[in-house]
């Protein structure tokens, strides 16, 4: 933020969208240099919830680090769990039984739906529509109840272990999932009619915050931000892991690159996740949910290992440097929203404050994931 810019133009002033603000979804501070209603420069300031998870990765054994994954992006914690256990299974060569893989995929996709529902409610809340939040939370509560009956937690899950899952699922969980999907399928047209088709919402989102595919590539943005700019890249399709190759689903891609495109990508992803869950429930085999021989102390070969999964917000990657010991030598967590937010400074130049907040909402930020 150059003080020269501030002193040259007397009408400019500095505004602090402080760490405590209804629209920043967490403790994010944005230093704004404003010219009336227009933003001249917006600089995000991070670190208000920095807990140093990467150092914790070096001080804990591989198994002790499992609960940390849920605290990174608490809204889609199961994807993070999945990425980490798959990395360690890759390193140690542990095979996972098929039933466990199916359970993992079902619960991860349920978590993705609940994360997108919360994003939907909070995003429209930012724009001034107070009501869809509570409707979305109604559906989300049902998902949380189902997942609680299986994992024991409502938000920061720690359900997957190396070699499988912690608990088996009962049949009434599966029937509950199918009933939920049926109900959600009947509610989605209502959301689209009331919210997506709303004239005021369209006016606020269309052509607001355009992000080109080239910019996404330069900044490393992934997830719905990238798919909203026309690039068809989803880790579940491009670099399949778990049992995704056996499931049939589409990847929604919209090419306009504005906030409306990102909104539509996430709404369509909810539908696709429902398809995945239905197929997985139809195909789930009987069998054990834990591998038989999981070593108590995991000592992988020295070297670097990398694994990426598709979290609700983009590509979540972990790079683990191992020295052959029971703890990691270096645990690097690559969070998707970190890269997504890094393009905010460039994109928000010259925008109206209200539009800049709509753009921030459409990036779907979860600050604990950025700050780790």
């Amino acid at each position: 933020m150059s003080s020269q810019a501030l002193s040259q133009h007397k009408e400019r002033f500095e505004l602090n969208l402080g760490p405590q603000h209804p629209a920043t979804h967490g403790v994010l501070r944005v230093k704004l240099l404003m010219d009336g209603e227009y933003i001249v420069e917006a600089e995000p300031v991070l670190g208000y919830i920095h807990r140093m998870h990467e150092l914790m990765g070096e001080n804990r054994t591989w198994a002790q680090y499992l609960p940390n994954m849920g605290r990174l992006d608490y809204l889609s914690a199961l994807s993070y769990n999945l990425g980490y256990v798959e990395l360690v299974e890759k390193m140690a060569g542990i095979e996972v039984p098929e039933r466990a893989e199916y359970i993992r995929v079902i619960t991860t996709e349920m978590n993705r739906i609940s994360s997108h529902l919360l994003w939907f409610g909070a995003f429209v809340l930012d724009l001034g529509g107070f009501t869809p939040l509570l409707y979305a939370f109604d559906d989300r509560e049902q998902i949380l109840d189902l997942l609680e009956s299986v994992t024991g937690s409502r938000l920061t899950y720690c359900y997957y272990l190396f070699g499988g899952c912690y608990n088996d699922v009962e049949d009434d969980f599966l029937t509950g999932c199918l009933a939920l999907i049926k109900r959600l399928r009947s509610r989605m047209p209502m959301y689209h009619k009331l919210v997506t088709g709303n004239v005021i919402l369209k006016q606020r989102l269309e052509d607001v915050g355009p992000i080109s595919a080239e910019m996404c590539r330069k900044y490393g943005a992934t997830g719905p931000v990238l798919r909203g700019s026309g690039v068809n890249y989803d880790v579940r399709k491009n670099e399949p892991y778990s049992i995704y190759p056996e499931l049939d689903f589409d990847v929604p891609v919209y090419s306009e690159g504005d906030s409306m495109a990102r909104y539509m990508v996430r709404m369509d992803e909810i539908d696709q996740s429902m398809r995945i869950i239905e197929q997985a429930i139809a195909k789930i085999p009987e069998g054990p949910v834990m591998a038989e021989k999981v070593p108590k102390m995991i000592k992988p070969e020295p070297g670097d290992y990398y694994h990426a999964v598709e979290a609700a917000r983009g590509t979540f990657g972990i790079r683990a440097v191992s020295e052959g010991k029971n703890k990691a030598y270096r645990m690097k967590l690559r969070s998707p929203t970190f890269s997504n937010l890094s393009l905010y400074q460039e994109t928000s130049k010259g925008m109206l404050l209200a539009d800049a907040l709509a753009l921030m909402g459409s990036l779907d930020l979860v600050i604990p994931e950025i700050d780790r």
Partner: protein, 185 residues
């Protein structure tokens, strides 16, 4: 995107940095003794040879990347340009503190998002006493924040960076937590 092209160019780049090595493409991985290292100290095997500059095509199913290249610290910008011209995007920049070797390593992860699955890793080692490396934020603006974060944790100085300040740690901080000799503050 021409995968073979990228591999050839990186091989050539890595070869440039090592004028006196004849053949680099088939450099073996570190010669580490097989099996697990026990907790109690044992008769130590010979320390593993440091990895030479070069390019390895590794097993994607185990390592998670397709090509692993090591270059000199002054060649990272050229490597970033090779990745940029091939249409890849920057995923992450990691720092590692190898205190025993008195070196630090900076690891760049690139991935191709245009369709074919291709992941590239570029590494560079820098001396631990004066950790300096050039910035790639001219080539990839997204590296701006990644490099700031690496500076936060390791104190690596990225030359040419427009704003090398603390990103995640407080501005008045003067320590780098992920160094192996950091004992707390």
């Amino acid at each position: 995107m021409n995968k073979e092209n990228v591999i050839q160019e990186l091989k050539a780049l890595a070869a440039e940095g090592m004028p006196d090595e004849p053949e680099v493409a088939s450099a073996a991985p570190e010669a580490v003794p097989e099996g697990e290292e026990e907790a109690k100290p044992k008769k130590k095997a010979a320390p593993p040879e440091p990895r030479k500059n070069g390019l390895l095509e590794v097993d994607y199913a185990v390592k998670g990347v397709h090509v692993d290249a090591q270059v000199n610290s002054d060649q990272v910008v050229r490597a970033a340009q090779i990745a940029d011209e091939a249409g890849m995007s920057l995923e992450a920049i990691t720092g590692v503190d190898w205190i025993k070797d008195k070196e630090m390593e900076v690891i760049y992860d690139y991935s191709y998002t245009g369709g074919e699955c291709f992941r590239l890793v570029v590494r560079a080692r820098i001396p631990r006493d004066e950790p300096t490396i050039s910035t790639i934020s001219e080539v990839f603006p997204g590296a701006n924040w990644h490099e700031r974060e690496t500076f936060d944790f390791f104190g690596i100085n990225f030359e040419g960076h427009p704003q090398l300040e603390y990103l995640l740690l407080p501005e008045d901080c003067d320590f780098h937590p992920l160094l192996k000799d950091f004992k707390g503050c």
